[in-house]
Subunit: 423 residues, 2 copies
Amino acid sequence: MAENEFHGTPLHGETKGLGELPTACSRQQIGTLGWNILREDVSLPAAVLRSPCIEHNLQWMQQFMQRYGVALAPHGKTTMSPSLFHMQLAHGAWGITLATAPQVNAAYQHGIRRFLLANQLVGKANMAIISRLQQDPDFSFCCIVDSASNIDALGRHFSQAGQTLRILLEYGVAGGRTGLRDSVQESAALQAIARWPQALKLIGIEIYEGVLQQEADIRQFLRHVVERTRHHAAQGLFHEEKVILSGAGSAWYDVVADEFSGLDLGQPLLVLLRPGCYLTHDVGIYQHAEQRIHANNPVAREMGRSLQPALQLWAYVQSLPESGRAIIGLGKRDAAFDAGLPQPALHFRPGQSATPHRTPADWQLTAMMDQHAFMQIPPDADLQVGDMLAFDISHPCLTFDKWRYLLLVDDALNVNGAVETLF
Amino acid sequence: MAENEFHGTPLHGETKGLGELPTACSRQQIGTLGWNILREDVSLPAAVLRSPCIEHNLQWMQQFMQRYGVALAPHGKTTMSPSLFHMQLAHGAWGITLATAPQVNAAYQHGIRRFLLANQLVGKANMAIISRLQQDPDFSFCCIVDSASNIDALGRHFSQAGQTLRILLEYGVAGGRTGLRDSVQESAALQAIARWPQALKLIGIEIYEGVLQQEADIRQFLRHVVERTRHHAAQGLFHEEKVILSGAGSAWYDVVADEFSGLDLGQPLLVLLRPGCYLTHDVGIYQHAEQRIHANNPVAREMGRSLQPALQLWAYVQSLPESGRAIIGLGKRDAAFDAGLPQPALHFRPGQSATPHRTPADWQLTAMMDQHAFMQIPPDADLQVGDMLAFDISHPCLTFDKWRYLLLVDDALNVNGAVETLF
């Protein structure tokens, strides 16, 4: 099902960050309404995605994956936006990674068909969601397992449903998150899988390296997993011809590509990498990660121009109550704040500025409340109530989930579309 | 417009925390589907509101306000749930306080008609939202102002619209958020208001005391504001017969009630207090505030039984990867984490437990990622993958905005309804 089959989706207009809507407006019509952020057609605060940056990032990651001969299954939990998922698929993504069964259902309802659930599938209602979707032969799905008890629960459920569930065995590290820690757990898991030959089909191996902090530790972990993958392949434990080997969050995908690409298992191998934040990037944690990648990774270096921060939040100066302090109409309801506060990027005075200017480096947010941000400014800062500011952000995931719609804008801040989120 | 006019609202089922939905199910039908959390009819994680606690809290706050002879304009930004707003109005609330023009619009579209915007109204599109709503003679609205430049911008806009905007003058404190700091700002603001006699109507005074930490400072600030209110009343500056005096977040409403009730201004006075978190309460910052209130406030003490935590999150144990550590399917996507992590409250083993048990005190969350929580447990904890846990939370606002629907449950965890959110 293609994205354009959804052109009639009715817009849920009882939310923020939109302009005045004609009656029964669909999301797809927003790009035709002639809104411009700088003309104040849109209620602020608003979240915008800069289309040229999104396009650049899509192409950059597609090329990066191609050069390594690996496939991209971007983690969709970042944006939970089927419109963006379709863009990722149009730029070569194999399918979409998600974290929960309801996320898979939401994406399926908007035309996505191939999924990796990078999580254990736990609980009756969650298993039932996947069983229902598996009634569609076009629905392609696999999830991860890391314990015999979960494997047995899945075996029981999918046996009763008369279905087969495709699973990846997850390895983890001591002190980390999920995943098998040792050979005792590994044996128990493999024995459990063997108890359900009809209901469960082991098709590969999955890891998440992002709980580790040091490259050397990550490489050691990845090599251990490659060794286990080879071992299981040699034992004939994988029950599809092509084995899946999957890893990589948004910070270490280069290292995972480097370790996982070009392996010879003696049978076809599909390496699936799962960065999600590359699409919008940021100026915080992921920019930091990108600097390391560009310093160290030869492919990234050769490709030149890096990922671009595409997600910005526009907000008004609400109040200038005392010297050195501006109160901004942007809060924890609008932006991630767990990995650095939003950073002032552009300043625009409606009706007076011709174009936005870069904000001076000494305009900085110092704190946020639910609906307000506190910005420290020099006593002589040229700032007025009603001025508009654009903020770059750190941690796109926790910014996306604050918005039901984000506007697509061009370089002149014309709104040429909108994407929905389904959190 | 009453809540029951919306019984046909189509449910947006592409989200989390729901059970299997019949075709074209409305939100109002959810209570008839026979779901029970403990029977695993609902996909976890899920957010539930315990109806008996909600009912208790509604009655408690209604009584508290009645005893002080003040009115309640609960801050709706907490829940952004018109269904809950209607419950608050049914329990005596004067109207709903909100933080932004789009929030007012969302609530208006769901039948709410009387609003206090506890914020400056800034920007062309935001003013246009209010102008559009003011075309309905049943729409009652006022907002706050704290600067001459915002007052002039409002004057220009509402003059051109041929409308009158009702405004409250906001006072603030040095080092605080918005609000007039000194007499120079106050004079400038009053002069600006006087420039727009048709477009702007000063009807009262507003403050937010929650930026202060100490009761003595708060009382001093409140007394200063009362003094200014008396002064302006004596000058005849208020242009409706009944003067509004509004303050109070969810932590200090008792002190504000104590200072603001029973004043004699020589003209009718409507004291509007704006706590929002009382409705669901929590086991963190607001429980802490409530302990102070019950220790110090004679009315609260006399009323006995305090506010009850009504909002819980149910989630599964996803993985038990190593001794002492459980990984829970609950993350920053599901719960506030800025004022303390969620606290384990109940443990239930589907198919085995008869009823949920209180979790031992040594089961504690230590960290959260986007979709996972890390729970520290003793090595011998009786916990299995697939077990269900209920978590109490701290900071309801930032938990509500993670959910599009929250389920209303009775004491046996039967789902008897659902409320929507409109963030």
